[in-house]
């Protein structure tokens, strides 16, 4: 959004301050849930980059989440590497794997890519169980939650909350810079008109593979964080439903949107909780209903909906002689 950015910056700072205050007011369990939200938000942002901004449909992002989680778990469990270091390592590992996956993916159009990634997602638990020696097989790997450093008076849940919040802030700031600049525009151009982008001189092959890599890296870091926060990894947590969950979060929040990732994460974390109270089967039925309804009514997700409201509000002000209306960006939201 153009227009003055001061209100936006002020808004973000306020949110950040509130977020930092939460650990001192909420229970450990709630903090654990919010840490999960931040983790999902990072993973969903990764997916947004690939599917929303770049138009490559991935039904298999759970695989990268799993790679991040398991690589972090193995590093901590087998080689006693500190959890902090596992994050960048997981990120780089997923960047490479994602890039390598992105290369053959170049040849696959939308639906075929969806099919290939869906099949990948289906196969992940089996592959994890097969390489028992590394992954601990069906039983997974049990980890210990890291404690706060420098003797800070924070329990592990509070500390991990700050860690996930910090990583979230950093990765979102990096992502925003990436997506709003030249690179972001190139990525969107590729999505909107592949052939025209190529004709304009954008190296679509390189960009698409890079976006795959970066997207995988984000989701991988999220997975690595989850290994520490949950302190346990097991193959069945990374089945196809994880990939579908991330996609649902992405769609509900807003596919081509940065803030949407947070809305989506809040949705997928908290909705199943209160849905469980209704019935065991309810969470997924509700996810399904929401997914379908959003496709009908709000295909741009919550972030898109907010943006439309904002445009309508400022447009009516403009018509009353106020400041100039916000230019419509049909394809991306902030």
């Amino acid at each position: 959004m153009s227009g003055s950015s001061l209100p936006r910056v002020a808004g973000l700072v306020t949110l950040l301050v509130i977020a930092c205050a939460l650990p001192f007011t909420l229970s450990n369990f709630r903090l654990f849930q919010f840490s999960q939200v931040y983790i999902y938000a990072i993973a969903i942002l990764g997916l947004n980059m690939l599917t929303g901004y770049n138009g490559q449909f991935s039904l298999g992002h759970g695989a990268f989440y799993a790679i991040g989680a398991y690589s972090s778990a193995i590093m901590m469990d087998r080689w006693n590497i500190a959890y902090g270091w596992t994050l960048p390592v997981a990120g780089v590992l997923c960047l490479i794997v994602g890039f390598l996956f992105g290369l053959p993916a170049l040849r696959l159009e939308g639906l075929y890519l969806a099919l290939a990634t869906f099949s990948l997602a289906l196969a992940v638990p089996q592959i994890l169980k097969y390489f028992e020696h590394w992954t601990g097989g069906s039983q997974g790997i049990v980890l210990t939650k890291p404690g706060a450093p420098f003797g800070l008076k924070l329990n592990p849940d509070q500390w991990l909350y700050f860690v996930t919040l910090g990583v979230l802030a950093l990765l979102f700031w990096l992502g925003a810079n990436l997506l709003k600049g030249r690179i972001g525009r190139a990525i969107v151009a590729i999505r909107d008109n592949h052939i025209a982008a190529e004709a304009m001189g954008i190296n679509t092959a390189l960009y698409k593979s890079l976006v795959f890599g970066v997207s995988a890296a984000y989701t991988g870091v999220a997975g690595a964080l989850s290994a520490s926060v949950i302190a346990y990894v097991a193959p069945d947590s990374f089945n196809v439903f994880l990939s579908v969950t991330l996609l649902i979060g992405s769609v509900i929040g807003g596919l081509a949107s940065i803030s949407g990732a947070v809305f989506g994460a809040l949705f997928i974390q908290f909705v199943p909780n209160w849905a469980q109270d209704i019935s065991k089967a309810a969470p997924w039925a509700i996810f399904g209903i929401f997914l379908i309804s959003f496709m009908y009514l709000m295909p741009f997700g919550i972030a898109g909906g907010i943006r439309l409201l904002w445009i309508r509000a400022t447009r009516s002000r403009a018509q009353q002689g106020g400041r100039s209306a916000v230019p419509t960006q049909a394809h991306t939201t902030t």
Binding site: L108, Y112, A114, F118, S119, Q126, I195, F287
Partner: protein, 293 residues
């Protein structure tokens, strides 16, 4: 050699199931460019309905045929009610809707019939058939017959009836179809109905083997995807052939390649899909669509 033949026949039996589901996927894809990710779950739901009929005392074939009828109506209704509102949206939006359908079908089935596995009867005799030293399960042979019968009926329908002709036209060229007075929307709905019928057949044939539970068709669906990919999403005949090939390969690989076993079976399907998509994305019999700029 005997084991080889047995495994091939057994593979053809499961291949028939994959062929049925793959045909359902391809029918819808040809008409709408959309892959219905919920096809397997819809099939599972139909199978549960058949189970309910049988449980209520209906004879098997009465339950079977009634289920086909209900599946048909269900498919038509889903297309008109759930898919139609988004039929002009980008393809991936429609795919998302089918994903939504997938999870809804799965969870509602679990809610109505619970996640406890239920045995599902086979209409074919218990005793296996013997040809010399080779033993064939009666269910396997029965499956192959049912699949071939259904495929034959469908082929005749599309080739020789006016409605079949209109459906083919609507799938290939909706604009021209409207111009000759075909109500394309209803042709699509009928297509979904037929696809649901194929899915139901697949479900009812595989349930006796795998036992009935909400995740019954998950594995079958990935093999059906492999079959449709291999045969070509634009070719119904290819999808059917692909189904039989995938069934036979799956069985032979499982039997003769020891490190695969049952744990990595999905990975075989995954590998097939990826290899085909990389080497010849349109499959063995599919045709490439050239894009006009």
């Amino acid at each position: 050699m005997d084991i080889f033949i047995q495994q091939v026949v057994s593979g053809l039996a499961t291949g028939g199931i994959y062929a049925s589901l793959a045909l359902a996927l391809v029918m819808i894809y040809q008409a709408t460019d959309v892959v219905n990710f919920a096809q397997g779950e819809m099939a599972m739901f139909a199978t549960y309905i058949c189970w309910s009929f049988i449980n209520a005392g209906l004879p098997y074939w009465v339950a079977f045929l009634s289920t086909l009828g209900i599946a048909f109506v269900g498919g038509v209704v889903i297309e008109r009610v759930v898919i139609r509102p988004v039929e002009n949206a980008p393809i991936l939006s429609i795919v998302m809707v089918t994903l939504g359908l997938l999870v809804i079908c799965n969870s509602i089935a679990g809610w109505i019939w619970t996640y406890v596995q239920k045995p599902f009867p086979s209409p074919f005799p218990e005793n296996p058939f013997r040809f010399g030293n080779i033993v064939f399960g009666a269910h396997d042979l029965g499956e192959i017959q049912v699949t071939l019968l259904v495929l034959l009926c469908i082929y005749l329908f599309f080739r020789f009836t006016p409605l079949g002709l209109a459906m083919r036209a609507a799938a290939h060229n909706p604009v021209s179809s409207r111009l000759v007075g075909i109500r394309v929307g209803w042709m699509l709905a009928l297509g979904w109905g037929l696809a649901a019928v194929f899915g139901a057949v697949a479900g009812m044939m595989v349930a006796p083997v795998l036992t009935l539970e909400p995740n019954l068709m998950g594995g079958v669906q990935i093999y059906a995807f492999a079959a449709a990919t291999l045969g070509g999403f634009t070719s119904p005949g290819g999808a059917v052939l692909g189904g039989f090939i995938v069934g036979v390969v799956e069985n032979l690989v499982g039997t003769y390649v020891h490190f695969i076993g049952t744990e990595l079976k999905f990975t075989v399907a995954l590998a097939m899909i990826i290899v085909v998509l990389l080497v010849k994305p349109t499959g063995l019999f599919g045709t490439t669509v050239v894009k006009r700029v």
